[in-house]
Amino acid sequence: MDEKTIIAKRVALELKDGDLVNLGIGLPTMVPQFLPSKIEVYFQSENGIVGLAAMPAEGYENKALTDAGGGYVGAIPGAASIDSALSFGLIRGGHLDLSVLGGLEVDELGLLANWMIPGKMVPGMGGAMDIVSGAKRVIVAMTHTAKGGKPKIIPACTLPLTSARRVSLIVTELAVIEPTDEGLVLREVAPGVTVEQVVAATSAKLIIPANVLTMPINVDAQAAA
């Protein structure tokens, strides 16, 4: 099983029946395919729809129904169109239960940097700053290290912060880490991964409780091979 699939599978377990969820671009959009069928979760796209559905079949695309990246999406029966102010009113006003988004760095205070690399990549923050500041829960879903094994979970962010607000959870292909008042607590390791491996791939200080669980996900042996 590849890294992204592990992450998406584990994040999917955080979604609760009736939740309103916003998914960042990239990896987070893989989460819905791993949802248990018995729960009903609603997706918001910040460009203005509540009740987003998967991309429609070919020939059923509509130019006026897209996600925040401009890609075609669908809508559930009973979806609602909203303008940008209402969209962020839902986010800032505490109506958005969960946001899942990618990260460049997370630090020991649980602060996230994910919107620019000065002098190199300046796409803009889009809705990320409002989402991290406003959503009830924020999950950072990212690979544990950057290319070349460089840690992304570090003592203090070196890149410009997305928000001064602590994120709720970090989910990587190696671990589940919860930022708390005391620091970053290692909650789970991925199947087959040791606590030592996680610590080695992390430059931030990790608090290791007596019982670190294994992610309750089914890792398909064939894909993992």
Binding site: I49, T66, R92, G124
Partner: protein
Amino acid sequence: MNKSVSCAQAVEMIPDGASLMVGGFMGVGSPHRIINELVAQKKKDLTVICNDAGRPNYGIAHLISARLVKKLIATHIGLNQESQRQMIAGEMEIELIPQGTMAERIRAGGFGLGGVLTSTGIGTIVAEGKQVIEVDGKQFLLEKPLTADFALIGADRSDYRGNLEYSLTARNFNPLMAMAGRVVIAEPKTIVPMGVIPPDSVVTPFVCVNYIVEGAF
């Protein structure tokens, strides 16, 4: 009071150096005919307020490629490489602001409010140089209202008086900008007689709209 004008007439009203709010999100819901006409009439030194820089060959990317934009105020320019290139080369000034903040700043401009108090941006580089206001022990950034000389609105249907409807995610910033432009020009896909759009379906009331661009998309 007939508000209909041709697309060319509408754009002739816009002088070089004007500030423009342009509706749309990655080009979805943008007034594409007006954008093309701005390029055709070679308007210069524009200040453009738009969610993003569009996508290559779509939306306001046309204005940027044609080098008509002096300054862009946007939330995200990642899908248009040319805008990043112009920014890094110093050919276009770009001010990046959070999307929810942009929505409220435009709304505040159109609704006559003195500003926006948001926790978004507190403790980040977005807060630099801005006033922090404490309300009941919580800190908020004071973000100022945004207005523009012209608001260019992409709509689904308009009636002859200018009541506007939007379709799905093509709504986005359009209804907010329709309140905040000193002159508001709407580009609907269809124009219908008064009464065809029920009062409860109107998103932008007709009193906000100064001109309606004729002709189907």
